[in-house]
């Protein structure tokens, strides 16, 4: 490989590597957001299912 080609490959590896890593962080953040939405749905479901004394009257 020629010196200039190696230079371009090295810089491409650095920036593509970092961008891929940032993309992976974003994907994991989306997963956590989904997890939090699931928990919120569970809480709402539980709250709707609870029969309080006020509703019995």
């Amino acid at each position: 490989m020629h010196g200039n080609t190696v230079l371009v490959v090295a810089y491409a590896v650095i920036w593509l590597g970092l961008l891929t890593y940032i993309g992976w962080i974003a994907l994991r953040m989306r997963g956590i957001r989904t997890e939090l939405d699931t928990v919120r749905a569970l809480v709402e479901e539980r709250d709707q299912g609870v029969v309080t004394p006020a509703t019995q009257e």
Binding site: V6, L7, A10, I22
Partner: protein, 275 residues
């Protein structure tokens, strides 16, 4: 138990600003407030920092990275012996420095976690180990590419290269351990011990070029001595180090927040499912 009360007339040691001339007192109070603030972390809780800090950090990172790339390709001179391929060094060296910094953060946060048992230190250690491993991977790849042209080989079992590879294995092991043990306290404790022991390799890696005869170049800017390289080369390297320090801080912040959100989500889910 009686507490001795200070009477108004009791001569106590007067504050330093009282003994200064009246016109010097405001300046002294400002210096004293900066030197020994009442709440050292008040800056982080300041509303504008909370609201805009992340954007300012991201913008500063992008500007500094662009400046570093411009300096590496346009400002710094072409090396007489190595040619353009030497320009890899600006980012390779900066990445290596930040990898060492990341593992120093892992070490400090691990010690703090074992001492205080506060899970926030564990999140910091985990975030620093993850970002540090990414940076070390890039150091190994860029070093290998540079070595292919300059040494004529992709890899040599040289002291610097070998200790860096060992460092990479240690922190990959650290991340695997975190992955297998989950978010348990025993897992965090074991990882903290590994984070402390693993850091031993960092000074060995740093000093390997002076301890052993190696293929790897030694420092261009020895600490405490005058730089042997031209000023344009040193300033480019310093800007690249600054750029990667900002990038490291930004990534650490992202990963730390992710760790916190993940812990909160898992804890909430467990509580909801139990009730």
């Amino acid at each position: 138990m009686q507490v001795a009360k200070e009477s108004p007339g009791t001569p106590t040691s007067p504050p330093l600003d009282q003994s200064l001339p009246r016109w010097l007192r405001p300046a002294w109070r400002t210096v004293a407030a900066v030197w020994r603030p009442a709440r050292p972390y008040a800056f982080a809780a300041w509303r504008p920092v909370q609201r805009y800090g992340e954007y300012v950090l991201a913008a500063a990172t992008v500007v500094t990275v662009l400046a570093a790339v411009w300096m590496a390709f346009k400002y710094a001179p072409t090396d007489a012996l190595q040619g353009d391929v030497q320009r890899i060094e600006y980012f390779h060296v900066a990445l290596a420095w930040i990898a060492f910094l990341a593992f120093f953060v892992v070490f400090l946060a691990s010690v703090a976690y074992l001492w205080r048992r506060d899970e926030r230190w564990d999140w910091i250690a985990r975030a620093a180990a993850e970002v540090g491993t990414v940076f070390t991977t890039l150091v190994l790849i860029t070093g290998s590419l540079w070595g292919h042209i300059i040494w004529g080989t992709w890899w040599a079992w040289d002291a610097r290269l070998t200790t860096t590879l060992i460092l990479w294995f240690i922190y990959v092991g650290y991340l695997l351990l975190r992955s297998y043990t989950g978010r348990s306290e025993s897992g965090a404790r074991a990882a903290a011990v590994l984070g402390i022991i693993g850091f031993v390799d960092v000074p060995i890696d740093y000093l390997s070029v002076t301890w052993w005869r190696t293929l790897h170049p030694s420092y261009q800017v020895p600490l405490g001595q005058t730089a042997q390289a031209p000023a344009s080369v040193v300033s480019t390297l310093l800007v690249a180090v600054l750029a990667f320090t900002l990038l490291f801080t930004f990534l650490m912040l992202l990963v730390y927040r992710m760790q916190r959100a993940q812990s909160v989500a898992q804890r909430l889910r467990a509580r909801v499912e139990l009730e």
